[in-house]
Amino acid sequence: MKYDHDVIVIGGGPAGATFARIAAGAGLDVIVVDKRKEIGVPVRCGEALGVTELIKEGLDIPKGCYSIPIDGARIIAPNGKAIVWKDQGTKGWVLERKTFDKWLCELAVDKGARINTYTRALEVLKDEKGKPNGLKVTHGGRDPFDITAPLIVSAEGMESLMARQMGFKTVHALYDIDTCYEYEMKPYVHENLIELYFGNAIAPRGYLWIFPKADRKANVGIGIGGLVSNDEKLGGLKGAQPKPLLDQFIKNNEQLKDASTLLDFGGVITVGAPINEFVKDNCMIIGTAAKQVDPIHGGGIGLAMEAGVMAAGVAIKAHEKKDYRKEVLFEYEKQWRTHPGPTMAKRLLLRKVMEKVSDDDMNYIFNIMTERDLPSIMGGNFAPVVAKMVAGRPQLLAILRGLVS
């Protein structure tokens, strides 16, 4: 069979654009279809990115793509006690996702990839053996047409509807998602630190964030657990909603209560484990579509780009051999499960333990914890910190033992 392209990528976000850049750079004929009219719009993201993730890629982020550089984080306990965490690992940016996504796509185009916006994938085409070999797409709702390729990559993000047609189990469980609401606000005077507020009264099973931006602007948002959100009658634990909780926080905040909102946005993020398989015959799934998201903070840009690099490397090899069977593509999944898989598994464990900690215990933990403990916690080395906590408050062992056993 003669194919139109070597690879079709669904979705032009960080994962899809990174994949396209690397695959096209190696000479593959890559086409990216994105349903949005404009790459990067609408923004549905807190827009923070750690510095290490781009250095790994060897990319230098141009000026317009980020709002301001960030030095570190201020983490605030339910009672208001703050820990400031600043080191090499916490440097980063608050991005302008609109220009950032476009920049990544432009890099891909420079390497020879082709990107089509406003092109929605309607259906995955399959050959007589049931293996995907193309897509039925429509440009702006006009007559659908077929494009074919031996390899299809789903980089669709949260929705991942095409991935479901390919047979990936991408439906989300309520327990493993956070529902978020966010304002862009002005004026907010900040010190180039991202601020994270914890506590069950502020953000049940989640956190509230203030990500500073240039010109005294800030992204103020909240994410709360799917199970605690909304209608109590439908089985929610508390009947909490992200928007009223965020409004209440803003009303009580000295700086923000008089600030204006410039943008309302929201979304749903996954904070659970990645899906059980990343590859099938003739298809791969990368980024948020594969639930490759940090379970602690819900960040997925860096992981998506990392997965894009890995998957593209394997796709290039598969293209050389003209062999797109699952066994060949599995190399990508193997790489991901070796790194960053285990780190993410530890963070998921931490998330599951943290959501059981009461506000009072959280205050206690923040009292004892110092900024020196944070790198080891995020790195997955829990034992020394847990020992410190339990020494002063033995009853915490019942909750925290999950971290060390």
Binding site: E159, L161, V171, T179, G226, N230, L234, G267, V268
Partner: protein, 72 residues
């Protein structure tokens, strides 16, 4: 039976990412609910950050609503 108030919808597609039966999809610039696929599980109601999806018990109650309540 669910209804979507399209006015307050911020098009985050959260509902469509959690729907187990693909009964909500973004069509053009709004979310469309396909009642024939819907199994009334209520997950979309719980995740909607803008709280614009409402659930009615049974088909009867929903039928009482004027048609524009569901579609516009």
């Amino acid at each position: 039976m669910i209804t979507i108030k399209h006015d307050g919808c911020i098009l985050c597609v959260g509902c469509s990412s959690v729907c187990p039966t693909n009964a909500i999809e973004v069509v053009g610039t709004r979310m469309e609910h396909f009642a024939d696929k819907c199994i009334d599980c209520g997950i979309c109601v719980k995740v909607c950050p803008a709280n614009v999806i409402q659930m009615y018990k049974g088909v009867k109650e929903a039928k009482k609503l004027p048609p524009e309540a569901e579609y516009g």
